[in-house]
Structure formats: C-alpha cells, structure tokens
C-alpha cells in the first residue's frame, strides 16, 4: 500500500510537469491551430536558464523554497520573453501563409533551439543545482514517507495550473483568448485584438514551459540540450490524449500519462517507460478519436 501511494505521488508529480508543458501546446493550438514543435525546447531553455541563474546567485548553498521561487520566477520571465520573440519573428510574419508553412517553421525553430543549445551550453549533460532540501525523514505521516522534492514539485505545478485556469476562465483576457481560439475573425469583429491575444498566449505557454524546465531540473538533475524533444513530445501526446485545444483535457491527459509511466516503471519494466506514452496515445485515440475531453468541433462557422 505504502509503495502504491509512493508511486501515485511520483506519477502525479511527473504528470504535473507534463501538464505544464501540455497546457502550452493546447493553448497555442487553440489560438493558432498550430502544433508548436518548438515548445519542448522552451522546457530545455528554462532548465538551462534556471541552472545558470541558481549557480550565479549560489542558491544551492542554502537550499530553500525562496531560492527556488526566485529561480522559477526569473526563468518564467525569460522563457516568456523567448516565447514572445518566437511568435513575433517566426510565426506572425506567416499569419496569412498556409498552415503547412507554419508547421515547417515550427520544426525549424525547434531544431534551431536544439542546435544553438548545443552550441551555447555544450552538448555534454550538466547538473541542475539542488534547490530543495532532500531529507527523506522530515516528511512522514505514519508509515508513509513523502519525498519533499516530489511534494514541492507537485505543489508548484498545481498552483501554476490553478493560476492559469483562473486566468483563462475568470478574467477578461482569458475570455478574449477563448474567443480568439473559437474564431479569430469573429473575435476581431468585436474589437478583441487577436494579434495581442495570440502573442500573450505564447508568452504564457512559454513561461509555463520554463517553469516545467526548472521542475524537471529538480527531479531529474541531469539536463542536456536535447532534453526538450522527448519531454515535449510526451506532453504533446498528453495534450492530444486529453483533446487538443481543451485545457482541462491537457491536464487530465498529462496526469494519466505521468501515472501510467510511473506504474510501468514500478510494476513492469523500466525499459518500457517511453513506449508507454505512445501506446497510451494510440489506445485512447482508437477509443476516442478527438481525445478524452475533446469534442468534434465544427470548424469555423
């Protein structure tokens, strides 16, 4: 039982990281109908920036929540800005071009980031500083042991997800986003500045991916310039499983993916870890072609 709960917690915290990334895919898909292949690279850049930031300010010397939060905020600002640039310089000029051009550009941007990552950061893996105390004895309820790192990651990811949901569903800006994602031309007719909304969507998505990068660094400290591609791909799978374009779907898909990965590692064979994501995708999509919470939306009335 104890072991089971441990796996659940591990799975959820992994799932939460996927969720932060999957949200970005789904948001951008919503407003631009674009699968932003460069999104996974935001996670990588978040991890590297977080690492340099934490090292520069020697935050690992006194591990604690304040150092972590500081790193997180700084990273989110930086990746948010990168996201803004990507939209402005790579995608916006193509706004009247066919979809396929946009998609190819996305692949190009992704490769650009991977290679410049190798150039700038070096291709050898580096180690993310330990920003949270890793003392297994401190968190215990009866027989149950909680890994403080896992709980911290879970907590931060949850807070960010809730903040995002509030932004999207409770604010004026969020209403604008949902309007643009339903139909951009219609939104413009009401005076909603679609271009700004799209730009903001990229910023938000990239900031969350940056946060995910820091959290990944905490849990799996070995980071390298290509780390974003598999993580990005799996999160994308999570978004598709949940129903791409649907926010709650992305979170649900990500949590399910995290849990199933953890259970495969825990009870079956660790080698199948990465295969599970794709098996998962295929099974769910055979059963529900538009994803768990996706609807067969009528395109553009």
């Amino acid at each position: 039982m104890n072991e089971f709960i441990q796996h659940v917690i591990n799975g959820l915290s992994l799932g939460c990281i996927y969720a932060l990334v999957a949200i970005g895919y789904t948001l951008v898909f919503g407003v631009l109908s674009l699968i932003n292949f460069a999104h996974g690279e935001m996670v990588m850049m978040g991890a590297y920036f977080g690492m340099y930031f934490a090292k520069h300010f020697k935050l690992a010397e006194e591990p604690g929540i304040s150092g972590l939060l500081l790193t997180l905020v700084a990273t989110m600002i930086v990746t948010g800005c990168i996201g803004w640039c990507v939209e402005k310089f790579a995608y916006r000029p193509l706004k009247n071009a066919p979809r396929i051009n946009l998609l190819i550009t996305a692949v190009g941007v992704s490769l650009l980031f991977q290679f410049s990552g190798q150039l700038i950061f070096g291709s050898a893996p580096q180690f993310f500083p330990q920003l949270v105390e890793f003392n297994l004895d401190t968190w215990k309820i009866g027989e149950l042991q909680f890994n403080p790192l896992q709980i911290t990651v879970l907590g931060i990811a949850l807070v960010l997800t809730v903040v995002l949901q509030t932004l999207v569903f409770k604010t004026r800006t969020g209403r604008g986003m949902r309007a643009v994602s339903f139909n951009r031309d219609l939104a413009s007719l009401l005076g909603i500045p679609a271009t700004r909304v799209i730009s903001l969507t990229f910023v938000v998505g990239a900031a969350l991916a940056g946060a995910a990068g820091v959290l990944v660094g905490l849990v799996y400290p070995k980071i390298d310039p290509l780390m974003g591609s598999l993580l990005g791909l799996k999160s994308f799978v999570a978004a598709v499983v949940g129903g791409i374009g649907n926010l709650s779907g992305a979170v649900l898909g990500a949590l399910l993916l995290g849990l199933s990965e953890e259970f495969v590692v825990g009870y079956l064979a660790p080698t199948y870890r990465d295969a599970i994501a794709f098996a998962f995708l295929i099974i769910i999509l055979l059963w529900r072609p538009s994803g768990l919470l996706g609807v067969n939306r009528i395109e553009k009335v």
Binding site: R175, R178, A179, S188, L190, G191, I192, I298
Partner: protein, 241 residues
C-alpha cells in the same frame, strides 16, 4: 444633409481573385437611419459588409466614418470606432456561455460596473429570453435565441453603426416579426443600421431607404417608399408582380 452622413462609401470595388464581387459601390449612410441592402443571392451584400468591417480589403475606393478614413484601420480598430458587424450566421461563440458572449460584446467599452449592469438590463429588456439563459452555453441556444444573442451582444458595444447580415435568416415568421420590431426599437434608441435582408418587403417597411445590389453593382437606390413602389423591385424581389 451633408453633415448627417455617418458613413460614406465611394467607388468601392472588391474582388475574389478573378471574381469581381463589388463594382464601384457608392452610397451614404445617414445618422439615425435604417438603410436596407437588398439583392439576390450572390449579389455581394455580405461582401460589402465584410469590406466595411475590415474582413476584406477593396481594390479601390474609400470608406469614411465621420469623415475619417476607415480603410487605414484594422478590424479591431473599426470595432473600437463604433462599427459593429453581426455577421451572416450570427457569429456566436458557441464555446462560451451567453453571459460571456454578452460580456465580450462590451470589449471595446470599458464600462464601470454600474454602466455595464445598465447596458445588460437594456439588452434583457429587448430580449428577456437571454436573461433566463445567461449561464447556459451559447451552443445550446436555439437558432432564434442565437440571433437574439448576436444582436444583444452587438448592442453591448453601443454601436455607432450596426451592420446586420440577414438577421431573419432561418427564423419562424413570428420571430422574424419580433426581430424586425427590435431593429426598429434599436433605431429609436439612436442606432444607425445597415440591414442586409432577403425579406425585402418587411425590411423596407421598417427601413428609411434602400439599396438594390445586382451582381456587385448598385442597381437602384432610394427611399423605402420609392423602392416598394418600383415596378422592378416588385417584380424581382417582392414577388408581387
């Protein structure tokens, strides 16, 4: 009369590739009037509205609102300038609730809470049904209710010019009467309306003036009375022979 011209359209030509959809369209929209835009299917009515609100850019011609050039403005900026377009097929955000749709209608107006409330009450007075459906997903509304929502949402923006594209399309006769009545009410509240309609006779009954488009050309232009009386109108569009 010159001073009362709200919207001035001159020599407007629009093409879709090789198809010339509007040819030198020329008219004024006078403050406070209902101007009916009539014509057969494919005459270019929707094209004209889209060009006015910014969805299409013309090959040539000018559009001026209050004397200032609208063509220089983006669609959003035109909405901010008071040009509100209720598109063909209503244009409801089916993924949002009725309340959120109405709220988006007020996007260009940064109302205070009280003003917002007052505006909303005004819309509920026009369409009491919307008040009952406030929390409901707009996708679950009936066609008629969606049309009410589309007009109500446009009204939230306090439009200077209201562009209505076939508001009676697909509605039951009783509801059509009701929609025309509402359009008249909006006029009496000070709106200036460009009304595209297939129900030519009913439109001209509430309208002040009319324009007849034929394959992108202004075929006829005049007061509602003149158009109703015209032999040609009666034959081709009113079915009265």
């Amino acid at each position: 009369m010159g001073n009362n011209v709200l919207l001035e359209v001159r020599d407007l030509s629009v093409r879709y590739g090789a198809v010339q959809a509007l040819k030198s369209v020329h008219f004024d929209l006078i403050k406070g009037e209902i101007l009916c835009l009539l014509g057969a299917n494919g005459a270019g009515k929707t094209t004209l509205l889209k060009t006015l609100s910014g969805g299409l850019s013309p090959d040539s011609g000018t559009i001026r609102l209050h004397g200032s050039n609208l063509l220089a403005l983006s669609t959003e900026a035109r909405a901010r300038a008071g040009m509100i377009h209720v598109p063909e097929g209503r244009g409801i955000f089916l993924n949002l609730s009725v309340e959120e749709n109405l709220d988006l209608g007020a996007w260009t107006k940064r109302y205070t809470k009280t003003d917002y409330r007052a505006k909303l009450d005004e819309v509920f007075e026009l369409f009491p049904r919307l008040k009952e459906r406030l929390a409901q997903n707009a996708g679950t509304l009936s066609g008629g209710e969606q049309q009410m929502l589309a007009i109500g949402r446009a009204w939230m923006a306090e439009p200077e010019v209201l562009l209505l594209d076939e508001p009676s399309l697909g509605l039951a006769p009783k509801l059509i009467d009701k929609i025309f009545e509402i359009i008249s009410t909006l006029q009496s509240k000070g709106a200036t309306i460009l009304l595209v309609e297939q129900n030519a006779e009913q439109a001209l009954t509430i309208g002040n003036r009319g324009i007849l488009l034929e394959t992108g050309l202004v075929r006829m232009q005049g007061s509602a009375k003149e158009l109703l009386a015209s032999e040609e109108m009666r034959k081709s569009y009113l079915g009265l022979a």
